[in-house]
């Protein structure tokens, strides 16, 4: 790739916007996932009985909705990123690309 082209892309405001937005979203979601997963693990490591507590009169404990919740959260947060990226980042990338052709 020509240095010239690299400099032009780097100077493109759309490129800077794309990079800043993608990295901000990526890091926030990574932080959210780490918080949820390691929070779950540490809760089990330090306060085992919390998730073993029954919700009502039946046998189901808080562990079931929380555990299923972590799985669903993992899938949903991934889908959230992908949907936002499909809408926003691809448009911006396309704008950068088109800017370079001219």
């Amino acid at each position: 790739m020509k240095t010239n082209l690299v400099d032009r892309v780097l100077a493109d405001p759309n490129y800077r916007l794309l990079k800043a937005r993608r990295s901000r979203l990526g890091w926030w979601l990574t932080a959210a996932l780490m918080l949820v997963y390691y929070g779950f693990i540490l809760l089990i490591a330090f306060e085992k009985q919390v998730l073993a507590t029954r919700i009502g009169a039946g046998v189901i404990t808080w562990g079931i909705p929380v555990g299923f919740g972590v799985i669903v959260f993992t899938v949903v947060i991934t889908a959230f990123y992908v949907m936002r990226a499909n809408r926003e980042f691809d448009d911006l990338t396309e704008k950068v690309r088109r800017g370079m052709i001219q």
């Binding site: 790739m1 240095t3 082209l5 690299v6 892309v9 780097l10 490129y15 794309l18 990079k19 993608r22 979203l25 990526g26 890091w27 979601l29 990574t30 996932l33 997963y37 390691y38 779950f40 693990i41 540490l42 089990i44 490591a45 330090f46 085992k48 009985q49 998730l51 073993a52 507590t53 029954r54 039946g58 046998v59 189901i60 404990t61 562990g63 079931i64 555990g67 299923f68 972590v70 799985i71 669903v72 993992t74 899938v75 947060i77 991934t78 889908a79 990123y81 992908v82 990226a85 499909n86 980042f89 691809d90 990338t93 950068v96 690309r97 370079m100």
Partner: protein, 576 residues
């Protein structure tokens, strides 16, 4: 075996297939348990159907596999949805299907904690790596890791760590395959290992990534379909009420606990209820975090998974791939939880599935297999057995392809021939490597038959998290990273994770047989320490790097960043 021509190999495999029923019968009279399995023609027939069907796909794929690009990445023509299914097919191993459902049957909630660990790496891969990988790479993850660095040292590192990860993962699959098939089909252990190795070689050798992808897609559909059927049948029995279902499982566990002499009714009830909450799986926080890190970051560093991102045309499809993969894998782990509890209520209560001591016939990993028979009869048992076999094939095919590409693309074409090898020569080396890896996998599978290899998959994850992930992560995102840093730091991560695993209880005590409690490294996974060592090593040796090469490495960052973020300048992987 390696002297046979391709058409001979096909003939041998077909012959082995036709012989299957005879072999199964011949093995019959030795053991009661094997005899029972051997009469199961349904399983053999369904597996044969799967094999014949996939061999046709391989034939079709072989016609399309002309260049190295076709061989490594199916010409880049796989869609995001297809790739998502294939990734799921690559990732959902027989060990996770049978092992996790068995773990849930044995200890309930702990099995769920375990399976969640295998899921949380996927979002990390999506948020930080997937698109950038696709934009930078062509065939292997080393393309990405070595993008702006000196090719030879980084490729040598990447190929070494790929081969180490692949070797451990592969041995685990082969030994698992041998034992499982011995049980399900009544075949000799070595025959099972040879069949798996032979079929895997046929798929990869002739059909390359195209055949491997379709084997994985078909297997993913069969496994998801079969597991869904089992979960639905189980839940239907309880009128789709989770409360009734779990209550029945707790009751069964309480009754089993009450059979131990001297157990009070209160203790028995508590033992039953214990499957609904965390048990012994997580005891010390260091082990828990370390193991969690190995799974979370290891997923983003497994070479056979990373390779799948180069089969799609662009970053958008790469992103969609992980979304679908995460969805299917997450769904699958929810199903295994239901299946594990279903095994408690359907299998543990049925004397037909238990031996005199109350243990499962055929070992604890048979939970899902017995449940298949309980809810769907012999035909469904045959189906699930065939799916388990197909699952192993799909996983080993992906692993072999990743190992072969590391040798032919990274070592042969880039390091030895300095990119002047030509597609045909590279393809040839790739195929020879597949043969060599296949023979090696069969040999190692037979050698390790009686060994305790439970540590191998988690070791593969730990190495991927400690060597591959830091190298990829810092080379893509950190400007200051240099050739010297990634090579030294990467090897530090690799060596530390292997050494600490050998010193940990799972190898020191369980495999090497030293006294319990004597392991020098007390934790279950080395990742917390080895991943830190990998990151610190890369950072330290990059920062201290004052060489000319180091200056070039840093100067190349902006051009790499532009391409990783936008794909501008990226060659579409499509066929040339």
């Amino acid at each position: 075996m390696s002297r046979l021509t391709p058409s001979h190999r096909l003939a041998v495999a077909m012959a082995a297939l036709i012989l299957l029923p005879t072999l199964a019968l011949a093995a019959g009279p030795d053991l009661g348990e094997v005899q029972k399995q051997a009469t199961n023609y349904t399983a053999i027939g369904m597996f044969a159907a799967f094999v014949v069907f996939t061999l046709f796909i391989t034939k079709w794929a072989a016609a399309k596999t002309k260049s190295a690009a076709d061989f490594y990445t199916a010409g880049g023509g796989i869609t995001g949805f297809q790739n998502g299914l294939a990734i799921a097919g690559d990732y959902m191993s027989a060990a996770s299907f049978l092992g996790i459902s068995a773990a849930v049957m044995a200890s309930g909630f702990d099995g769920l904690i375990y399976s969640i660990g295998f899921l949380v790496g996927w979002p990390i891969l999506t948020f930080l790596m997937a698109e950038r990988l696709r934009n930078l790479g062509q065939f292997t993850f080393a393309d990405v890791a070595a993008f702006r660095f000196a090719q030879t040292p980084v490729r040598v590192f990447a190929a070494s760590s790929t081969l180490v990860v692949v070797a451990f993962y592969l041995i685990a699959q082969m030994v698992g395959a041998g034992q499982l098939i011995k049980l399900l089909f009544g075949l000799e252990y070595w025959v099972a290992v040879v069949i798996v190795g032979g079929l895997m070689m046929i798929y990869v050798l002739f059909g390359g990534m195209t055949a491997t992808t379709w084997v994985q897609i078909i297997k993913a559909c069969l496994l998801l379909g079969g597991a869904t059927f089992m979960a639905v049948m189980v839940m239907m029995h309880y009128g789709f009420s989770l409360e009734r279902f779990f209550a029945a499982a707790v009751e069964v566990k309480a009754q089993i606990a009450a059979q131990t002499p001297g157990t009070t009714p209160e203790d028995a009830a508590a033992a039953g209820q214990s499957i609904m909450g965390p048990g012994k799986f997580i005891t010390d926080p260091i082990s828990a975090i370390s193991f969690g890190m190995a799974l979370m970051f290891g997923t983003a560093g497994l070479p056979h998974i990373l390779m799948r991102f180069f089969t799609v045309p662009d970053a958008k499809e790469a992103r969609k791939s992980v979304m679908w993969a995460t969805t299917w894998i997450g769904y699958f782990y929810l199903l295994t939880f239901i299946i594990g509890f279903g095994a408690i209520t359907f299998v543990l209560t049925n004397p037909g599935f238990l031996d005199e001591t109350g243990a499962l016939v055929g070992g604890s990993n048979m939970a899902a297999i017995h449940l298949a028979k309980a809810v769907g009869g012999n035909v469904f048992l045959g189906f699930i057995s065939a799916v388990a076999f197909a699952t192993i094939l799909a996983v080993v095919a992906g692993l072999t392809l990743a190992g072969a590409s590391a040798v032919s693309h990274d070592i042969y074409a880039t390091v030895i021939k300095k990119n002047k090898a030509g597609s045909a020569a590279e393809l040839k080396v790739s195929r020879y490597t597949v043969l060599a890896l296949g023979v090696l996998a069969v040999a190692l599978g037979i050698v390790f038959e009686k060994q305790n290899i439970a540590f191998m998959v988690s070791l593969a994850f730990a190495i991927a998290a400690s060597a591959n992930f830091p190298v990829l992560f810092l080379s893509v995102l950190w400007k200051g990273c240099t050739t010297r840093g990634v090579v030294i730091g990467g090897f530090i991560g690799l060596v530390v994770s292997v050494v600490l695993t050998v010193l940990s209880p799972s190898v020191w005590e369980a495999t090497l047989g030293y006294d319990k409690g004597s392991a020098p490294f007390p934790y279950t996974s080395p990742a917390l320490f080895s991943m830190t060592a990998g990151f610190v090593g890369i950072w330290l040796f990059s920062t201290l790097d004052r060489s000319l090469r180091g200056r070039q490495d840093r100067a190349g960052f902006m051009a790499q960043q532009v391409r990783s973020e936008t794909g501008i300048g990226a060659a579409a992987a499509s066929a040339h």
